[in-house]
């Protein structure tokens, strides 16, 4: 599976779209290559809840305040659920 650390919803969605359905711009080597990998963002509640409190505090706490986690999750759900 793939875990992302992208800072915004658009780039997260683009990563996910590429890794699941293939390069949407049809420019890179993954054009038309549907890897179908499960893609998650490190800040998604389902992933975040499994991380130890010490690690979360040390590495993620600051960015947790800065990132729009809801929008990132929304974007990833869109990429995961789009049945292209």
């Amino acid at each position: 599976m793939v875990v992302l650390g992208a800072p915004d919803a658009d780039s997260s969605e683009l990563y996910a779209e590429t890794l699941i359905h293939g390069d949407p711009s049809w420019m890179g080597p993954l054009a038309g290559v549907q890897l179908g990998l499960p893609v998650y963002h490190i800040m998604e509640p389902a992933i975040l809840s499994q991380i130890s409190q010490t690690c979360r505090k040390e590495h993620l706490e600051l960015m947790e305040m800065a990132l729009d986690i809801e929008k990132i999750t929304e974007g990833l759900n869109r990429a995961r659920n789009s049945g292209k």
Binding site: M1, L4, G5, S52, L60
Partner: protein
């Protein structure tokens, strides 16, 4: 999605969360990082 025992490809970003930070986090959840990268678009 349960992380325990999973092999993980990590794509971090300089302006977001860096690869090694994500690796440390998923390891704490029992997963195994296979590839750790940090992208930089600056």
């Amino acid at each position: 999605m349960d992380l325990k025992g999973k092999n993980i490809i990590i794509i971090g970003e300089r302006d977001g969360i860096q690869g090694p930070a994500i690796a440390a986090c998923v390891e704490s959840a029992g997963a195994k990082p296979l590839l750790v990268q940090t992208q930089c678009f600056v």
